[in-house]
Every structure is written in C-alpha cells, then in structure tokens.
Amino acid sequence: MSKYLQFDELEITDQQLLVTALEEDMTFRGAGRSAVVESFASPQHLFGFGGDQRPETAEVIVRRQFVGSAANDLGFKRQESGNFRPIISAYDSRFYNAAWLDELSQRYGERRFIQEMHESGYMLSNKSAIADGSTEMSFVAMGAI
C-alpha cells in the first residue's frame, strides 16, 4: 500500500455530474427517480408553490412539480469558489434535509471519482454498498486487464 487520502467533504463543482446524480440517483417526492433537472449556463429564477417568481436564482433547478405537492423549486447555485450551494425552502427542507443532501454528496462523489479515475487510466472493477450505507469502489489500471 502506498498512500491514503481522507476527505471530510466532497465539493460539488461539476454541473453535469450534479445534474446526472439528481436525475438518476436521487428520489423526489413528486417524481420518484424520474425528475427532470434543468441546467443553465447562467442562473435563472426559482418559482414558489403558487407560481410566484422568487428572488433566488440557480444554475441547476428541479421544478416544483417534481419536488412534491405544494413544493417550491429546488436549486443549486454556483458560488465564487466554484462549488454549488443548495437553495431549499424551509417547507421543502423537511424532506430535502441534511440526510438527503448527504446522500446527494455521496452519489455525486461516486460519479466524480469514477470519472476522474477513468481519465487517469483506471477502470471500475467493483462497486458495492456495505452495511453502514457506505459505497466501496475498486479500480484497476486499464492496461492491467
């Protein structure tokens, strides 16, 4: 064994991977796992449950019909640091809470590591969920197979 790295936080910086993780990995009250996620080059306004335009803007938006009954749009806005910050109303945060965001971070992280490893010449050889809810992934050098 040559090296260990430990991360206490994975930074969500890749917009396309964020969209993919939201669409394919996350559950929404109004759409299950089939929510349509909108992605914009520049931030767009969010709308409230009554169709009212909200002052908040975001580049990645899940519209309220997918978020749930009487819900508001859910957004992710890019910060100056490059990270995306979630914008979730107080009402919707009852479901889209810290645990939901942690799961998003986990799913995004899986995709981000797989992408980075692939670009570095490694392919995923095994991926499994373990009892504590963690995901374990193994990669091998592509030339080794």
Partner: protein, 65 residues
C-alpha cells in the same frame, strides 16, 4: 510487480477515503494530486513504498513525488 489498485470508500455523509495499493515512485503522487481536487483533504499518509524507485523510472523523477 504488484498490480496497482485504488480502493475508494464514500460514507453516508459524503466523506471519502482513498487507499492506493501497489504503487511505486511518482505515479502515486501524480494520481493523488488529481484526486485531491475532488474535495477537502484532511489527511494524507504516505506508505514506505511511496518513496521507492520504479525500476523503469529515472531516479530524478522521485524528487517530484
């Protein structure tokens, strides 16, 4: 030579642990540097093999690791 493998564990809080296995020389550091862009690294531990010279690598390369 041992096959190089990487094991990555991501817990329910989105915290990750990367274990790089079978690396020798600079390749380990180069890959680690790429992976460090993914998040905030709180711990980085080199194993003795990290400092070993790859038979196929110019020894000067080790100073870049």
């Amino acid at each position: 030579m041992q096959e190089t493998t990487v094991k990555i564990t991501i817990d329910k809080k989105g915290r990750a642990k990367v274990e790089m296995i079978g690396f020798h020389g600079v390749g380990c550091g180069e890959l680690a540097d790429k992976l460090k862009s993914i998040g905030r690294v709180t711990s980085e531990t080199n194993k003795p093999e990290f400092y070993e010279t790859d038979e196929n690598t110019n020894s000067l390369d080790n100073f870049a690791g």
